[in-house]
Amino acid sequence: MRQLSAAIVGPGNIGTDLLVKLLRSEVLRLHSMVGVDPASDGLTHARKLGVPTSADGVDWLLAQEDLPDLVFEATSARAHLANAPRYEAAGITAVDLTPAAAGPFVCPPVNLGGVADAPNLNMITCGGQATIPIVSAVSSVVPVAYAEIIASIASRSAGPGTRANIDEFTQTTARAIEEVGGAARGKAIIILNPVDPPMIMRDTVFCAIPPDADTAVITGSIHKMVAEVAAYVPGYMLRADPQFDAPRDIWNGMARVAVFLQVQGNGDYLPPWAGNLDIMTAAAARVGEQLCGARVAA
């Protein structure tokens, strides 16, 4: 299969974990890792692994004769908004791991096929990548009037950017639950837990479902989707079978399915408890690989 080349911009924790994952890929060739601080751990790590690096930022990247096909951006929303038009002008597809949301949301097992031609794809949020597949698994078999997700992450895995603008998480995830997950209305909650040793990422999905919904069909659809996500996030698992609750008046007569997930990271560059960061990089790598497939087929 023809290989696409990919650069990583932003050598922080996320960018470096992604680097390790992309180096394992058989279809993506790592073009370079780009930052702005020559002393950054991420750039040092990349150099050790034999990947070309530069601390001269996107200016350096776009001045190369051999431009990458893809760029994975793991900087900040502000930096990505500045860089996005430059990538597009250079004909480079951007996979955006920041909250910038300059392009359409993508969740690989749900909607990648529909947005594969976009010049810029946004990876939503960690909680979104963990839960939207489940919302979609339910909404693909019954109407979902309302879906709610709770993402619990270890305090140590929430960086200053997330903390300074936590509303961005709840609002972006809620919107993607609707636009990508297929719920009529979405709500997202994030909890930071400081317990030591750190807790592994946990996600809960509640969907309002019709009172007469076929629970076996819903359960089957959820199990199938969990397997699809686990194909690229090996530590993604159900804690228990989906739990169904009978209709209640206070739920407007709807019944409810509750799904309890655990997301253990692969321990590539970040510790296994940081499943929230792992699922972002694993999903981004998955997008990159599937874009290869799509473009080769085209």
């Binding site: 709840t170 909650i189 837990n193 309002a208 228990a240 309890f260």
Partner: protein, 342 residues
């Protein structure tokens, strides 16, 4: 010990009490409680879902009425009392705060787990910009020591908090422990901001801890009529008013009227008054977030496992406020273990 000073009591019947009412207050109840509290000259009345703005959900329970309409009703009913709202970043948003402010709320209380104050500056900035009075809430304050807690209070004050509360969400602080935390906050932020105390009755120390808090420099204290709140309930507002009057610390509250508010207005509509039963005591003993009680009771019935086992395990796991979903997960785990043994 500092000189006794005036203490301001914020009544949280219509917020923390939501936990005991499964968040099902009617507009009539809200109006009646606000009217009675205002009549008793309580300065601040908190009105929100038990888990704060935006709390109406599968995870925490759906409110009976639209919360912004309820805030507007409370504002309409109050003549002199200020209406406060609670907001937990990660659940409620700046947008929710703007709507509450538009409905007439004038005090913003921003709550985080005691180690996570740095998720709050965005919300304090918005509250300041809206011209609201600001209060920070450091929840489950027993989980860290006084010095660490004071550092977190500093983050909130730097972000715009005019007062920071030591929030004993689990009712787990025992006398000197509450005292030490209040003192640490007073010495860290006392020159720029006030210090508050929010107690629960799980170990029956809400009132005692509140008195010690004020004697150590706290100037704001929370209560709820008939203790209506999570776990074994809050420090009862009517007992706070009576006790502070007896020891010569003015609260401005009319004791006879606040006793009437508790007895004649709240007691008749409460289906089950908070009580220090086995589950609630375990919460204080094991340091479990008080709001988990009713959720644990429901999960215990649904999955046929003992409620105190659920609460003990939730405490051991170190779950924090907002992780109500983990109660079901824990109950499922206990049920699976019971199956294996059986």
């Amino acid at each position: 010990m500092t000189e006794p000073r005036q203490v301001r009591i914020t009544d949280s019947t219509l917020r923390d009490g939501g936990h005991a009412m499964a968040h099902r207050f009617t507009e009539g109840q809200i109006r009646a409680v606000v009217h009675a509290l205002d009549d008793a000259r309580v300065d601040v009345i908190e009105v929100s879902h038990g888990d704060g703005l935006g709390g109406s959900s599968f995870n925490y329970g759906f409110s009976l009425e639209d919360e912004i309409e309820m805030i507007a009703a409370a504002v309409d009913e109050a003549r002199t009392a200020k209406i406060a709202v609670l907001l937990l970043p990660g659940l409620g948003t700046v947008e929710d705060l703007r709507r509450a402010h538009h409905a007439g709320a004038s005090v913003a209380r921003i709550a985080t787990h005691c180690t996570e104050a740095d998720v709050s500056p965005q919300h304090f900035a918005a509250a300041c910009e809206l011209g609201m009075e600001t209060v920070g809430f450091l929840m489950l304050a027993h989980r860290i020591g006084p010095a660490e807690l004071a550092k977190q209070a500093r983050i909130m004050v730097d972000a715009g908090a005019q007062c920071v509360y030591v929030v004993d969400s689990a009712g787990a602080l025992v006398l000197g422990e509450a005292q030490a935390r209040v003192s640490a906050l007073v010495s860290e932020i006392g020159h720029e901001a006030q210090v508050g105390f929010h107690g629960h009755q799980n170990l029956s120390l809400g009132i005692g801890n509140s008195v010690l808090a004020v004697q150590n420099g706290a100037s704001q204290v929370d209560g709820a009529l008939c203790a209506l709140g999570a776990g074994a309930g809050n420090s009862p507002t009517e007992i706070l008013a009576a006790t502070f009057e007896r020891i010569g610390i003015p609260t401005g509250i009319d004791v006879a009227r606040v006793l009437a508010a508790a007895n004649d207005v709240v007691r008749p509509f409460v289906p089950r008054l908070p009580v220090a039963d086995r589950g609630a005591i375990i919460q204080g003993y094991a340091g479990v977030y008080s709001s988990f009680l009713l959720h644990a009771e429901r999960a215990a019935v649904r999955y046929q496992v003992p409620v105190h086992d659920i609460l003990q395990r939730v405490g051991d796991a170190g779950y924090v406020g907002g992780q109500e979903d983990m109660i079901i997960d824990v109950a499922l785990g206990l049920a699976a273990e019971a199956d294996r043994v059986g």
